[in-house]
Amino acid sequence: MSLPALPLPSEDVQPFDPPPEYADLRSSGEVIRVACPTGLDAWLVSDYAGVREVLGDGRRFSARPGQASHMLASYGPDAPVDNFTRWDGPEHIRIRRNFAPQVTHARRLAELWPLVERITDEAITAMLASPQPYPLHSRFSTSITTSVIAELIGVPPAERHLLGQAAGALFTTSTTPQELREALTPLYTYLYQAVATRRVQPGDDVLSRMIEHSADSDRPLTDGELTEMNAALLVAGFDTTASMITHGLVTLLNKPGEWEKLVADPDVATSAADELVRYLGVGTGLLRQATEDTEINGQKIKTGEYVVVAVQSGNRDPALHADADALDVARKPGPHLGFGHGAHACVGQQIARMELTTVLRALATRVPTLRVAVPLDSLRWKTDSVVRGPVELPVAWS
């Protein structure tokens, strides 16, 4: 008998919610065996406590197969483990500690707010001077998040097209390993050269700071590691955040009263940012592999077997919030799984929060009449990507 397929979001039917079958799975706590799009079979965990347990225990559940190898044809779980996103334990923590001072430290973040605010303000000014309807995803969300991450790392405007090219290939489910290599090569080549340049002529950018910071450590980062780390920040840093801005706005504008709460008090943007990530985040789930015979929710899992955690379903668990299926932009930010959990939790999460908060606050203040310019059911949604949301979002204002 063939296994049931991994339930995946269908935004054309349910734009804001995980597949309906998760409600029963979650309430029973049952861990079932599913067939994933790339052909591997996995145990599916869909309740909040179970997802948190799997992601939080890197000793029992390794990141080795790759965070999304259940979805992406481009790098199989048996590919060489050549990248820190697939490392476990102290080797991975070493890399995180070279990221953290640049992108998560509270004092560093305080320096970055003005940059994000300036880029957002310029994007809104450009939008308000444009004809309507306005293509929000490409011209606003993607433009802002690309500029922020590129300015952080010091990528000049002429090279920024490399980000879109790399992200498109990396997050598209049907990309072959060969196509992925070809699509990533220009960005890696550019960054590899940038590492060499900044070693000689450092600037104030994240790349230069990483070089300087690690030079004093026991094991300075290699050129290859610096290239990988900055490629990851660049590629993951703009597409996921841009999609969350766009998907978040169409959600807010379609839930009665939510946009109005933000307009009435733009400082609600802080809680709205976390709430949207909780509500919409990582609909296609994350992959782990058991390192020992173990169990989750009473289900025995053998060494080497794969586990998919349904992050969005976990965040809708009534055990987390009694009304977890309701979007409430004023919900006090608390624990959720939308940035992942465990040692591999999103390294850019504080910057993503900063961008989402800034964009929501500025739009609510300067464009309070913002609305989606087309019927919801006419929107096209990304179906071939692990980064979900509308392909485009036409908006208007008065």
Binding site: A100, A345, V347
Partner: protein, 64 residues
């Protein structure tokens, strides 16, 4: 209440310093958690509990 942290496993996500800044900070070198107050007042209890729940690496322990 007593609070302990495991700096060896900290990934420097920074959620604790944002959630309970009177109790947690991050060092400048690696953004690793610094425990500012290992016996914080009861008024910090809610914030410390939130910091425990929001720590992705689960390195903060609260001992009532």
């Amino acid at each position: 209440m007593k609070v302990t942290v495991d700096r060896d496993l900290c990934i420097g996500a920074g959620n604790c310093a944002l959630t309970a800044p009177a109790v947690f900070d991050q060092d400048v070198e690696e953004a690793v958690v610094i425990l500012l107050d290992e016996s914080p007042p009861e008024s910090e209890l809610v914030a410390v509990r939130q910091a425990v729940d929001r720590c992705p690496a689960a390195v903060i322990q609260l001992h009532p």
